[in-house]
Symmetry: C2
Subunit: 361 residues, 2 copies
DNA sequence: CTGAAAGCGCTTACAG
DNA sequence: CTGAAAGCGCTTACAG
């Protein structure tokens, strides 16, 4: 093991920061990679000490740490994530599963998650389930063997097999967007049902009496909003099941136009439409424009989520602003705590929502 | 190494597919993980043979392969990606860097890339640069040490340091969305300049004489579209630099409204506006609606990319449909070839674009 | 077609 | 505060 020539790099000029560190030919590795041992040899200590120093572990002489840090930087040493993962039995990756990226809601969520995680030295590995239980299961089967440090899942609706995979992996996991059932499962979100009830009540207060619920996608959260809608209308004595348009098709602006059309054909016609998501509400608003239908005079329209463009609509859309960025940040923080073995006292964190009244209602 | 009790799992019932395979207590590993050696022992061959059989390498007795496959499946064996990466010096991850996820253009790109890569056994590791060279550099510094099998980058505009990192890593790399400079750099995209010229010419043919170019973000591809715009107007003898509104701010529907306002204040006023992206064009269309400004009679409006909603606008937006899904698919395929060491004969693949004429022009 | 040996680059666990 | 030993779970390269 002593076939290295004496280290010469210490007197070498520092590489320009604009260039990647050159690989040293003095390395014994065929890969040309600078390893922990290379650094250890250059400094004249054991690899273990370098490992400790670089990871900021206690119990290393501060002066030595400084020297090791400097030498490592100068030599362009970068830890090998694969080796680290293999030795420590865990990676720096956090698996983040969302239903869809075309809904900007989840883009906001991911951006916030990434930012928080990256700052803590973790990487977000993003998986998209397309609202498909089988796909989610496959993603878990594929990525769980990578020993992610943590797991961030959207909601609670998944297959028993998926649940079992997560449980068996013992990887710390936080659920986002919804609140748990109080059983102590870590989650960060808000009450989708309460939010649905809130915007429905707003419509009732505005004097509307025949309020339809127009939905596409029909995922778990949409159905929770429907629950809130029902609750609010029942309380007001205005509930009529024939006013629920629950279409399983994926949402889009075009679907919103179709839903508006269908809703207006109901007899007697509704005087207000609660769309389960802003994209279909926007589509409905544009369809109303095309038809010359006055909103909200002829029919009020509301959405959910406050997505980009909703404030630009004609008229601007009344909606529920959901705290997805905040959820991403707090969800990541909670996960980080779990990863570190710290306690999370309220395992379920309610971040609320906000009714944004604009001119469409 | 002979401290295992005799394998009993062969007669054990197959685990229900709805449950993850249980960890065998007979494993010598503290991690409880089923390893290659466990499978080898159960079958009665060497770990090397199991490794070869499971990877589908030639030169293994077909009958043995079958037996190994079955036993591995029954035992719930899953290869450890970290160990594999460490031993083979490369991972199954492909690093995909895009500027922004809030532009659905890149979501479509990523979806297509993921699908193609996943089917080939690779995983897309997504990084978002936010149109920031420093961020891109940092992502490369962070993820390149993971030894990704390949690299998928958006465009060619990056810092010299980023280029150097990519080159030094020797990781196969394909550039997406733009075409190369003909120097043989692998790329899949289309000519942004030609597309910009094409839609400009369309406006000229419609009889417009004062055609403004309204842009936000001003990334490399936007500026290439501007180049095409200029070229087309110069050819028509209609070029006027004062008609170029180049705003560096990030695009949004609200910015589109502002750009419309600014464009209409030009003197003499333009009769057509070419927006560099559909989101700002949509914003402009809505602002025109608010002002009661007739489109296209008073002013024609066109966009770029054909994003969701453009066909729903009032009036529907004339735009350029860009083949991002196709680019994602073909880009991933080209990368897969490079990874396998196969030749890619035209290293630059032009997938074209399509002028979509609707009612806004 | 199959296997024994060595090693990938780290960290864990145990000593001192 | 520091280090020698062993091992994480695979694959490469060399034999046969």
């Amino acid at each position: 093991m002593a076939r290295h020539p004496p280290p010469a790099s210490q007197s070498a000029p520092l590489p320009s920061s604009a260039e990647p560190a050159r690989h040293r030919s003095r390395s014994s590795r065929a890969s040309g990679r600078v390893t922990l041992s290379d650094v250890a040899e250059a400094v004249g200590v054991s690899p273990m000490t370098v490992s400790r120093a670089l990871r900021g572990e206690r119990r290393v002489d501060p002066a030595l740490v400084e020297k090791i840090r400097a030498t490592a930087a100068q030599m362009g040493y970068v830890p090998d994530p694969a080796a680290r993962a293999l030795a420590s039995q865990k990676s720096a990756q956090v698996l983040v599963l969302v239903p869809m990226l075309s809904n900007t809601l989840f883009v906001d969520l991911i951006e916030a998650v990434h930012k928080e995680l990256f700052a803590a030295g973790y990487h977000a590995l993003i998986g998209v389930t397309h609202y498909d239980r089988a796909e989610e299961e496959q993603l878990l089967r594929t990525y769980l063997p990578m020993r992610p440090a943590g797991l961030l899942l959207t909601g609670f609706d998944r297959s028993p097999a998926a649940r079992a995979l997560v449980a068996a992996s013992k990887v710390p996991c936080v659920h986002l967007m919804e609140l748990g059932d109080g059983s102590g499962t870590p989650s960060v979100g808000f009450s989708q049902a309460d939010a649905g009830a809130s915007i429905t009540r707003h419509l009732v207060e505005r004097g509307h009496r025949r309020i339809a619920f127009c939905a596409g996608q029909l995922d778990a959260r949409v159905m929770q909003r429907a629950t809130g809608y029902r609750r609010a209308l029942q309380e007001a004595g205005l509930y009529d099941p024939s006013l629920e348009l629950l279409w399983p098709r994926p949402t889009s602006m075009a679907l919103g136009a179709e839903l508006l059309d269908a809703a207006l054909r109901l007899e007697p016609a509704p005087d207000a439409l609660f769309f389960c998501n802003d994209d279909i509400a926007q589509g409905a608003l544009l369809e109303a424009l095309r038809r010359g239908l006055q909103v909200p005079q002829r029919v009020a329209i509301t959405g959910f989520n406050d997505l980009p463009g909703s404030d630009q609509m004609v008229p601007p859309l009344t909606t529920i602003r959901t705290p997805r960025s905040h959820i991403g940040t707090e969800g990541a923080r909670m996960l980080l705590k779990l990863i570190r073995g710290e306690p999370v006292d309220p395992p379920s964190m309610d971040l609320g929502y906000e009714l944004v009244v604009r001119q469409s209602s």
